[in-house]
Structures are given as C-alpha cells and as structure tokens.
C-alpha cells in the first residue's frame, strides 16, 4: 500500500541535474518547478512597462469614447485590468522564482479565488431588494 518505489504521485523531481540536494530544492510536481530570469538587457521589464501603458491607454480611451454599452464596457476594462495584473505578476514579481516548489502560486491562487468570491457574492446578494435597508 505505501510502496515508495515506483509511485508516480510521490516521485520527486529535482531542479539540480545531480538529484536532491537536501536544501529544499526538490520539486514535488512539474508545474511547480521554479524558473529564474536572467537577461543581458532588461527587455522583459521594458516590455512589461510598455504593455501596462498600452493597456491603461486602451481602457481610458474605451471609457472616454464610450465604445460599447455600459455593461460591455465594464467587462472590457476589467479584462484589460486582469491583463495588467498578469504582466505585473509574471514579469515584475518573478512569479516562477522560488527555492524548490513554487508553493506561493498555490497560496496566491487560493487568495484570488476567495477575493473574487468575496466581491462577486457581495454584489450578487445585494441585488435582492429586501425590506431591510
């Protein structure tokens, strides 16, 4: 039952090509494997900055010119904001960097799920017109 021999679920992948180091560098799942950035010129940072400026200008122009009806416009600017958040996380916050498994991605994912639930459920429950207000 608890054979540790060829059990895929408990297989340890090490980032070190020479196997586990004993320093916490082992990763438990391939999608949690860390990845470090290194470049001769800060292209990524410049891309992130230009990208975030373009997304901001796009959102601003969309609202100022009223390109869509209210609800569609709200969806468009929220999608643009999520895009900017992804740029910040991926490029500036080095999301994939960690010692061993990138467990902070799991923590952050849980935080995001609860955050969306919190805002979404609050708005939903307040759409009911009750006598108490």
């Amino acid at each position: 039952m608890f054979n540790n021999g060829d059990n895929k679920r408990h297989k340890v992948i090490a980032i070190s090509p020479n196997g586990p180091t004993g320093n916490g560098d082992e990763v438990e799942a391939r999608f949690l494997a860390p990845h470090f950035e290194s470049d001769g010129f800060p292209w990524l940072q410049i891309f992130g900055y230009v990208g975030s400026l373009l997304l901001t200008i796009a959102a601003l122009l969309a609202v100022v010119d009223h390109i869509l009806p209210a609800f569609g416009l709200l969806v468009v600017i929220l999608v643009l904001a999520v895009g900017q958040a992804a740029l910040q996380l991926g490029i500036f916050m080095h999301l994939r960097e960690s010692r061993g498994s990138t467990w902070h991605i799991v923590t952050l994912g849980l935080g995001i799920v609860i955050a969306i639930g919190l805002v979404g459920m609050s708005m939903w429950i307040m759409t009911f017109k009750s006598g108490v207000s």
């Binding site: 560098d25 410049i46 100022v64 904001a81």
Partner: protein, 205 residues
C-alpha cells in the same frame, strides 16, 4: 539532513535565494500578500455595494471624479513599478549603485503619487464631499485611502532599505529585503490598476 549537499546546485541561484532561511522569508511574504489581497477584496466589495448610495443630493461617482488626477496617479505608479523592476534587475547583476539609484527614483515617484492623491482628497473635502457625507464617499475614501496608506508605508520602507543598502551593500539579507519590497510595490500597483478601473473608470461609464 541525511541527503548529501551539493555546493554546485546553489551557485546559479540569485543571491537572495542562496540562503535557505532567507528564501523561506520570501515565501512568507507571498503569504502576507495573499492576506493583504483579501483585505483589499473586502474593501472592493464594500465599494461595489455602496457605489450607488450617494445620499440625497449626491455627488455621484460621475459628478465627483475628474479623470486628470487619476490618470496622473496611474502613470506615476506604473512608472515607479517599472523603475522598481529595474532596481531588482540591477541587484541581480550585482550593481549596488544602480540598485540604489533606481530604488530612489521609485521612492520619488511614490512620493509624487501620494502627493497627487492627497491633493485630490483635499479638493473633494474642500467642496464638502468628505467621508461622512454618504455611504459612497465612506467606501471611496476607505478603499483608496487604505491603498494610499500602503504606498506611504512603502516609501518609509524604501528609505530604510536605501540606508541599509548603502551601509551593508548587497548581501543575502539586503537582497532578500529588496526582493520583498519589490513584491510589495508591484502588488500595490496591481491594486491601483483595479482601483483605477473599478472606481475611476467605471464611475465614468
């Protein structure tokens, strides 16, 4: 530790990740950011619910906001996020002077952001639209003010960080602190992007 330790495997890691204990602090800081995200989510929920409760004669979000200051604040914070990214980039290349210079630029842009925001708040209050006027204004000042307080704390943090970097140079401890500050600063930028979208832009729809 029964497993053999290989010195080569940590040689390629950035300085702040070479020490195991310092790496754990970075993981801990990510957990803090997740809880801070929930704080802001609660305030966003309050704002979304009370946005329309503007009292007897307003002002409504559309009447209150001018996009000018909000756009200036956005540009200042986006640029400071970029310069903070360059500070970490310089730190990774072991350039102490470059790190400190870009961090100082980040700090000054942060001061510009807070100054613009305080002037915006003062202009609203001067018109009699302070936080006790309506549920909308309470929610607005709480959400945006909490973010502004975070940025103000970040500025104080950056000052202490510059002093430490000048005194101690780039060590495993100071690089870890710089890395954590960068996480904090970029996180605040993300929150601001959502404030700009949900509060200012959607107020103009």
């Amino acid at each position: 530790m029964n497993l053999p330790v290989e010195p080569d495997s940590t040689a390629k890691l950035p300085l702040e990740f070479t020490d195991n204990h310092e790496s754990l602090k970075i993981l801990g800081f990510w957990s803090f950011l997740a809880t801070d995200l929930l704080l802001f989510a609660s305030l966003f929920a309050v704002y979304a619910v009370y946005q329309s409760r503007v009292g007897m004669q307003g002002p409504s979000p559309d009447q209150l906001f001018k996009l000018g200051p909000a756009v200036v604040e956005t540009l200042l914070l986006l640029t400071s996020s970029f310069t903070c990214g360059l500070a970490v980039y310089q730190m990774r290349r072991n350039h102490k002077r470059g790190t400190i210079i870009w961090l100082a630029v980040t700090l000054l842009l942060g001061v510009g952001f807070v100054t613009t925001e305080v002037r915006e708040f003062v202009s609203y209050i001067a018109m009699g639209d302070s936080w006790h006027h309506s549920a909308f204004l309470s929610a607005f000042f709480t959400l945006v003010g909490t973010h502004g307080a975070h940025v103000t704390f970040g500025i104080l943090w950056a000052i202490t960080l510059i002093i430490q970097l000048m005194g101690r140079g780039l060590t495993t401890v100071t690089t870890r602190k710089m890395y954590m500050f960068a996480l904090y600063w970029h996180f605040l930028d993300i929150i601001w992007v959502f404030i700009f979208t949900v509060v200012y832009l959607s107020g103009k729809i």
